[in-house]
Symmetry: C3
Subunit: 470 residues, 3 copies
């Protein structure tokens, strides 16, 4: 008997008693609406609602999970059609790129990328066999054909996916124009922005000065001092909130939070305006801005998210040629206990404040994050993230965080995706893994079945709804 390509019991423990329970738990949450409170989908896709161009443009070119793996196996990004910064030519034949991808499909064995792709191929495009050298172009054509149909327009897919809320991630100066258009022509669910101030917080970015100008323009305020800078940010947060935002987000190398005196902050800001900020200035300024963002969140009620611990653009040559987000961001060891102490001492006991912390350093789950979230009322743990948004990664998160933080100090799943069509694939994976984890607890008589049913729903839906105040 041939295995179905997308097995109905995929990702569940093969032990019959666990599997039986996992199937039941999963069935109870499978059809729940999707809450996606953090991710990187471009709202314009939904506002414009034009057909997706072709399979390569849809699935390969924007997905750093995919092309970094191919790159690691010696395939130049040029051959994958990844655009260069200077516009120097790259492969334009998308069928050829797809075929190369199909021939390289085995490199993904055992990775979440393979799991997501299988779901997309099967559930979205009705293709019920793995991609490979022999069927590559046939699959391409079949997907391409579907993408031209009305059913595959972004807004149709949004409805079909059952998305209740989709949060985007937006720069501080962003006009949120697509969000405005989506308000005028509502979808079956909400699309909301998220305030991410990184471009004006990270003083070392070459674009900082320019971004500051954009912030000034967007806020309608002159920014000539730290004081006016802070006011402009507060102004933008208010605008985002008005546009439906429920949260902010910050990507920082270190989560160290430490308030500067007004004088120090003004001093560093002035140096940055003159292009003289040092690396140390930058680190101290970022630490201060974590404190400021926490203060603002306590005041305006936007949930604060921190995504720390990635050393961005590790590969300088690749960065110079292809720019940001090309799979060359590498995690570093991250410290939370001392780093967040000042912030949590100041705001962690404040019932108005809500902080969701993510990590790329799994050693911190049991050592630092679960103990912190298991104590401070304001702090919750974000889902296992990025490299750890995977079968084993999710399992480790639950195994290492639950016993100290419990389930109720976590916030459910966040797909964090750039790839719109992969959203249901990612939630499918997470709901299955959570069902399986709970089933293991039931089978070992750690929790009861009724409790597990409540928790399965909480992890798939309720916790995200509550944590992000959706």
């Amino acid at each position: 008997m041939k295995e179905p390509f997308l097995h109905p019991h995929r990702f569940f423990d093969p032990d019959p008693s666990i599997r039986r329970i996992a199937v039941e738990l999963h069935a109870s949450v499978e059809k729940l609406p999707i809450l996606s409170p953090h991710g990187h989908v471009d709202a314009r896709i939904l506002a414009e609602n034009v057909p997706f161009p072709d399979p390569t443009e849809l699935i390969i070119i924007p997905d750093h999970y995919i092309f970094r793996m191919l790159y690691s196996q010696g395939i130049p990004l040029e051959r994958l059609g990844v655009p260069t910064v200077d516009g120097s030519p790259v492969e334009q034949d998308h069928r050829k790129i797809w075929q190369l991808f199909a021939e390289s499909y085995h490199f993904f064995a055992g990775t979440p990328t393979a799991a997501w792709l299988a779901y997309e191929l099967s559930e979205l495009f009705g293709i019920d066999e793995p991609l490979g050298p022999t069927n590559g172009l046939a699959v391409y054509d079949r997907i391409a054909e579907r993408l031209r149909t009305k059913e595959f327009l972004p807004r149709e897919l949004f409805a079909r996916f059952g998305i209740e809320v989709l949060a985007t991630t937006d720069g501080p100066a962003d006009s949120l124009e697509p969000h405005r258009r989506l308000r005028e022509r509502p979808l079956s669910g909400r699309v909301i922005p998220t305030f991410r101030p990184d471009p004006v917080v990270d003083l070392m970015r070459p674009s900082w000065r320019r971004e500051l100008g954009a912030l000034s323009k967007a806020s309608g305020m002159e920014i000539d001092s730290y004081r006016s800078y802070i006011r402009a940010i507060e102004e933008r947060r208010a605008y985002f909130k008005e546009m439906g935002a429920v949260a902010t987000d910050q990507g920082v190398e270190s989560p160290a939070a430490k308030r500067l005196s007004q004088g120090e902050a003004e001093g560093i800001f002035a140096r940055a305006l003159r292009g003289e900020a040092t690396a140390e200035d930058t680190a101290r300024f970022t630490a201060n801005m974590l404190m400021e963002m926490a203060r603002m969140s306590a005041e305006d009620g936007l949930v604060m998210q921190i995504h720390p611990g990635s050393l961005r653009n590790h590969n300088s040559r690749l960065f110079q040629r292809f720019g940001l987000d090309k799979g060359a961001d590498i995690p570093i060891a991250t410290e939370y206990t001392r780093s967040l102490r000042e912030l949590l001492n100041e705001y962690g006991n404040d019932p108005r404040f809500s902080l969701v912390v993510f990590t790329l350093d799994e050693t911190t789950y049991s050592r630092e994050l679960a103990p912190l979230a298991g104590h401070y009322p304001a702090m919750k743990l974000g889902a296992s993230w990025w490299f750890h948004d995977s079968l084993q990664g999710m399992t480790r998160f639950r195994e290492q965080a639950t016993e100290t933080a419990g389930f109720y100090n976590t916030v459910g799943f966040t797909d964090d995706t750039r790839a719109f069509p992969s959203i249901p694939a990612r939630h499918d994976l997470s709901r299955r893994l959570d069902a399986n984890f709970l089933a293991g607890l039931v089978a070992r008589h750690v929790i009861g079945m009724e409790e597990a049913l409540t928790l399965a729903r909480a992890l798939a839906y309720d916790l995200a709804k509550r944590a992000y105040r959706l």
Copy 2:
């Protein structure tokens, strides 16, 4: 068919071949006497033998595992009756507190606290259903009623629990008066003190000067120099030993051990006496005292225990209002290889010396602790501790330490509890988890069944007996 509340096969792997073996192994150790060589039970409870006041006072108010979880979910400690430092009023209605706890019981799903509570409710109080909003007060009344009976007097419970040895943890100036009384009126098992010098070692504690006075008084020695300080400590160790102590214990932020010259030690001590010790002085003094305590242990034969890696009182506001041990102690990354080098070079090869090391940083199990314990004759690994005294935590400890250190470089289970009635619950959990771990090895043909039976007994009883020289 309804699941029993306390399933006889709880915590065992559901795979039938593992479960069958686990059941057999567990049955072979289930009734062994309890050795509790490290914990925080107050000996006065047993010396005075008065009835426990009420369920809330017994189970909630002293247990930071419980109230920190409730606090993390937004319930103020005042509402839980946790006493304030300044005596400002907190909830006094213990039935109301219990009901609040019962309504919050689901927050503990999947935590060891839930497992311990289930055992206590069922085995101790005969309550065979989980606590919840509807049965909260009925359960309260039932427990309260039992607590008034003779069978629930502390000495009766001590016998019923089958405790062979119970070690308390005591300050260096402690009179050990309850221990003296217990000698006069022996229990069914031994209650022995443990020498923990932290109050006079940590120079930064506001109470250091006062504790030094108490030490002076207790030892009958004037302490005006480092030299006399050391003699006073030696004197107190001798007294503790005479009173039955087999071990010492030190809670330190870092396990770094480094001897100071006599001159340096005297210099720091003199500064501390003048209230001028710096943070660096404190760290160096503590590092020196680890060396001194090791020397004394080599000389007097008391087993040395180190519990490092907790950043105490992370939440300053909570600390100011409620004091120590309120669930706000958060682990930090801990280094052992370099930190313990001087100590192990000096004493690690000495057959008179025995060192038991604990950790809150699980990354050190396989990287540092197992290799050290798998080499130095004097060093053994303490059980998985605190946040890691849990189902997954114990499993990770065995999985990550055993292959390098073997079983015989570990010391069995230490419950480390403050909550006297939870002692058997904790040993039940640990015996089950060890039985299950061994069963997994048998089922995978890594060890044989006879070997597993010997090891199950070793982990439950023999290793603690030998390591602590009981």
Copy 3:
């Protein structure tokens, strides 16, 4: 029914569906030839082909896995016949040593040493019961008898083990004379050297000056400057390559790689020649040599291996009395993301360059190493190493590295052994564990059976062949 001593299904998950698949996958790779691209077997054993002396000399005295465990349980190394540096007498009665080992066999329960020993006893010597106090001497005699037969001559065993390639590890000045003799009288497989320059790279070694002299002699070049030193190393690499080497190896405390200017390098080298190099000089020189070795590898095509993170000779007394490699090398936390950045920026995108990185810090699998190997084309992950070359260790490696790096950015198994007769035992263990890991993926429908069969072969054979260019 009595369990067989060496169970045919050993190390496989007891779940019937996983076990069935594991058995099938294992059967498909069980008989593949052995590739051993990194290890510490002495080539003279095979060149000279004299009978192994006796069981104690073969199995106990050279194996630090064994005697460190016995030492940790209080057995002096002298009683185990481990030779002293100064030649002071140690136990010479090898039967007595073996009996002591047999009586201590239970200390190894659950360790990979026990698994390897069981394989050797059973498969190699036909002994089908565990070693213990009662059969110790009988087993000794049986092994001793076999060792005197022709079938147990090293070259016979080499053929029987099915070794296709065996790499040794050799100092930079090594004449490779045994390798030369093996060329003249070929074995059933290749024995190739590996260039390990540590003795002339680590400026702090007391023997550095002497080793430099040997390097000068071996290369036929006067070494009076950094420049000539580098040329001598290049010359020796060329010689090793000519003698069949495919790789180099470096054991370093830290993997930090950072090029020095020519002037700085000459300055440090001159200080080292005068015996004035500092610890900081040493660290900077080693970091520079990692860059230089990478450059040379890009040029001459030898695969570069790095084994970092061991603090050697932790126990000074033991080191003074017994010398190197006595089980007292203890891992330390190791950082790769920042440490390897300069090296990977310079050479990581170079198709001529191939780098295999090992670790003793398992926290880096998912946090740093898999993301790096999952991006840089030149970098691959070495197998789980040393303390982690074990059942759980291999499983953790696969679980933590695969989802980000995939299987194809790893290089298969390296046994890294000093103990020639344990080679097949180690490959047996690794092939079983990989089969079991893949079986778990198949049973959870993460990969298909055909894919698993391809991967089982890749992990056992193909990946090593490709990565080491064999």
